[in-house]
Amino acid sequence: MSAELDSAAKFTEYAHPERLVTTEWLAERLGQPGLVVVESDEDVLLYETGHIPGSVKVDWHTELNDPVVRDYVNGEQFAALLGSKGIARDTTVVIYGDKNNWWAAYALWVFTLFGHEDVRLLDGGRDLWIAEGRPLTTDVTEVTPVEYPVVERDDSVIRAFKDDVLAHFGNPLIDVRSPEEYNGERTSAPAYPEEGALRAGHIPTAASVPWARAAAADGTFKPRAELDAIYRDEAGLEDGDDVIAYCRIGERSSHTWFVLAYLLGFEQVRNYDGSWTEWGSAVRVPIVTGAERGEVPTR
C-alpha cells in the first residue's frame, strides 16, 4: 500500500530516490490513506507551535530512546509507539523536522533499525515547508491507533558499536562534528551544552566532514555532483568502502548515514551512535587531536 514515488528530476541523480519526497509531492498527498507524516525535531515543543496538517510527532529523547539503558527502544516499545501514531508496517512514512532534517534523519535511521520498509525524508524539512508558505496547524491530529507488529531490532547492518569501530581501523571513518570538536578544542558543538566526554579529539584516521555540508542553504540535500565532490573527492570515499560515521550521540551522523547510503549509494554504511560521548570517555581507546586524521593505531 505504498504511496507512489516522487519523480522529481533532482532525486533521479541519487542512488535511492525512493527515500525522498519534495514539499510539493507531500502537499498534494496530505491525508492520503496509507501515508503518515511524522515530525521529529530537536525542540520537543516545536511541533506544538505548528505542524504540517495531519502529522504526528515522534520525539527522539522521550520516545526513541530506552528510558533506562543507553539504547533505543525494543521491538515491543517500537510497535506500541508506531501503532499509537497510526503507523502500520506497510504505511508510507514521511519524516520531516527542523535544522536540515537533522533529527528527522535520526528518526529515519531508528525506523530503519526495525526494518520499516517505506520511510522517506521530506527534502528541505520543516524550514522549506514554512519558507514556501505552506500550511501549518496547531490542531491536534486525531489518530486511530493501529496494530504494528513486534519486530526485533536489527543492529547488525547499519549500527556500529565501539568494538566494531576498534575492529574497523584501516577502513574509512567519517567524523561529522564541528571542526572544534574534531580538533579537540571542545567536546560538544559550539553553542551546545557539554555532554560529558572526558577527552576531546577524534577517532584516529577519521575524515572530518561536518554533517551540514550535505545541506544546501534552503535545507534540501545538495545535488549529487556536489555531494560526490565532498565525500568522494575530498574525504576519499570509494565504491565498495565499508564506512562508519559518528558524531556526539549519533544524531548528526544519522544525517550523514542517510546521505552516504541513500543519496550516494554506499552499500556498507554504519552509524556509530555511541559516538564521542562514549569514545571520548572510554578507557584506553586511541584518540587524535588536531586537524590531522592520524594513523591507524598499532596495538
Binding site: E42, D43, V44, L45, L46, E48, T49, H61, T62, D98, A191, Y192, P193, E195
Partner: protein, 145 residues
C-alpha cells in the same frame, strides 16, 4: 529542596507542573513559552548587554539589571525554540521584581523539581539549570559592581 527558600511564584509554578500528567506538562511549558515578555524597547538594539546561555541547545540570551535592590530579568529566544523560551519564561515570571537575596537563595536544582525530566528529558532540563546559574552569577556581579 527547602521549600521555605523558594519564592512564591516559582513554588506555584512547580505545583502547577506537578499537578499535571506528563503530556499536559508540555502544554503548560508551551503556555509559558508564549508568555515570554518581549524585551523592553530600550534593550532591543543592545545585544552587547546580553549573555548567551551556553548550556542551552538553542540561542537564548539573558540580561539582569538591579533596581533599588530588586532583580529585573530579561530574556530573549527565537520562536523556533519554544522549549528554551518556556524555560526562560518560567524564570522571568518567577524571579522578576524579587529582592536580590531571594533570587540568590533559589536552589540550583529548582529546574529538576518541576517534573519536566520525563516530559522533555533530563538533558534538555540542563539548559534551564544553566540559565538559572547564569542569572545568579549576573546578580552577584551587579551587586559587586
Amino acid at each position: 529542596m527547602d521549600a521555605t527558600t523558594l519564592p512564591a511564584r516559582l513554588s506555584e509554578t512547580r505545583e502547577d507542573f506537578l499537578a499535571l500528567g506528563v503530556r499536559d506538562r508540555l502544554q503548560l511549558l508551551l503556555e509559558f513559552s508564549n508568555e515570554l515578555p518581549e524585551l523592553p524597547e530600550r534593550y532591543r538594539d543592545h545585544p552587547d548587554l546580553f549573555e548567551k546561555v551556553e548550556e542551552c541547545q538553542s540561542p537564548v540570551y539573558i540580561f539582569v539589571e538591579l533596581e533599588h535592590g530588586r532583580v529585573h530579568l530579561h530574556a530573549t529566544a527565537p520562536a523556533e525554540s519554544p522549549t528554551t523560551r518556556g524555560f526562560a519564561s518560567i524564570l522571568v515570571q518567577g524571579l522578576d521584581g524579587l529582592p536580590v537575596d531571594e533570587v540568590l537563595a533559589v536552589p540550583a536544582d529548582y529546574p529538576q523539581s518541576l517534573g519536566l525530566s520525563e516530559a522533555v528529558s533530563p538533558l534538555r532540563v540542563r539548559g534551564m539549570t544553566g540559565m538559572l546559574g547564569r542569572v545568579k552569577r549576573q546578580v552577584r556581579k551587579r551587586i559587586a559592581a
